[in-house]
């Protein structure tokens, strides 16, 4: 039985990793073929770094992710603190609304915001579909993850220490900064990292909300896979996999993605 479990586990992990290994191996292939090995070469990496569209899309992705992470963290953290002191009925209503983007299929979230942005633009001429709408959409789908990361930390905190600080003459804002913020900091940081990585990773919502002027990296990857496939995509995959691996070893981001799935899980439940 033990040996059977080991074999089964191995099969599943081979299934999960084999395609990625093949992808990375063929990024070093001399020829354009993705199935016949013609010798070692780094030319696809060279091609990749000379591809201006990919580099500029990468920069756009990073800009969007930073802005989305910062704004969703600020709005989400404030919201969590506010929700904590709300009456129960209003809070649970707000938390239900908070769950909507997590439970809804991405395509529905994407097209619903697209309808709004198109309407705003045609009515006022503001928010031309592009970078601004992209960031707005990303903030929207990141906020729920921040709130669900900060709220448990607030629930764990003893509320008396905040009151004690004020009783001892500390003004509310300062008491918040000195007492509450350090307590909930781990939740805020988790939420922010989650927002950053989810934003970098998103394709579907970006696809519907970015108009034609702003392109993120996943959007460029998508258009590359629709046209003639190039081993450049393999090279890009290999680099991204390497970066993640280094980050996993260097920083403890290991739990972030699993935690993001857990947040989504609680929303689904």
């Amino acid at each position: 039985m033990k040996i059977l479990s080991k074999i089964y586990t191995a099969i599943i992990f081979v299934f999960l990793y084999a395609p990625i290994v093949v992808l990375i191996v063929f990024s070093f292939n001399e020829s354009k073929s993705r199935s016949v090995w013609k010798g070692f070469s780094l030319k696809w990496y060279e091609n990749l770094f000379n591809d201006e569209m990919i580099i500029s899309a990468l920069l756009t992705s990073l800009e969007v992710a930073v802005l989305a992470a910062v704004f969703s963290t600020i709005i989400g953290t404030a919201a969590a603190v506010g929700l904590k002191s709300m009456n129960k009925r209003l809070r649970s209503a707000m938390l239900t609304l908070n769950n909507i983007p997590m439970v809804n299929p991405d395509i529905v979230t994407g097209i619903s915001m697209m309808l709004l942005f198109v309407a705003i633009f045609s009515a006022t001429g503001l928010m031309h579909p592009g970078f601004v709408t992209l960031v707005t959409a990303h903030i929207t789908f990141c906020i729920p993850y921040v709130i669900l990361s900060v709220l448990p930390k607030l629930n764990q905190m003893n509320p008396s220490i905040y009151e004690a600080a004020q009783d001892l003459g500390c003004p509310p804002l300062r008491a918040f900064m000195k007492v509450v913020l350090p307590e909930i900091m781990p939740g805020i940081i988790t939420g922010m990292m989650m927002a950053f990585t989810l934003s970098l990773d998103d394709f579907v919502i970006s696809y519907f909300t970015s108009g034609s002027t702003a392109q993120t990296l996943p959007m460029v990857i998508y258009s590359m896979t629709k046209r003639r496939l190039s081993p450049k995509v393999n090279a890009l995959s290999a680099i991204m996999f390497l970066i993640v691996l280094v980050l996993l070893i260097a920083v403890n981001i290991r739990q972030i993605r699993a935690a993001a799935i857990k947040r989504k899980k609680t929303a689904v439940e």
Partner: protein, 272 residues
Amino acid sequence: MKKDSWLASPFMVWVLIFTVVPLGMVCWYAFTDASGAFTFENILKIGTYWDYLKDSLIMGAVATALCLLLGYPLAYIMSRASWGAQQTMMMLLMLPQWMNFLLRTYSWMTLLENNGLINNILGRIGLGPFHMINTKGAIILGMVYNFLPYMILPIYSVMEKIHDSLFEAARDLGANRFNTMRRVVFPLSLPGVITGITMVFVPSVSTFVISQMLGGGRNMLIGDVIERLFVGAAPNYNVGAALSLVLMVLILISMAVMKKFDDGEETGGLMM
């Protein structure tokens, strides 16, 4: 901290404008025609697109069932492994999730191609070539590959909490391995199973990326239809919104049904 509730107001405004209003607009578009007059026509168009919707539901269900079949044993093995092994397997499970899912799907494109690696290897031993890409099977494979961890994780997290003493108790009371699984482990893991099913089914039914990359545009799903109605050559927001609304309602209904099933089973488990 009673007076801090105002801090939630930016969030409330944000949710109102960017979540509630857009969903309201989906409903509005679904029930109006191009001139803005009320109509049921868009919703009734479902008849025209019924085949795509049916295909999506069937393929989503098959992919979900496969994920459950493949994922359940692994979740069980993980939950019974040593702490260190659990941590390692968890990390190995999450590592591919860090790669963009377009790239993960793309990796199967290159494997399944007519002159791809699998046919290449099979050809050397005198088999094939098999036509794999641009088939329904390829799409289902893509769904399973991308969403399998969403099934394993929730099941693992409930199984991990099942205490070893329960296994001992079952054994002491004369249950064999099969009966322990059937009457102890399975009922207790049900909440995880339900969550896993939802987390795999929702993205599978609504995908348009996997079907476009691995189905080659010939096997359209409801997601593809919606995508084309919004960003295609001949957009029709009204019909697109109606189809999205139907998709959303179907998903909500299936989630509610699953939840009912979960509650019912839980009391059943207690009475056991």
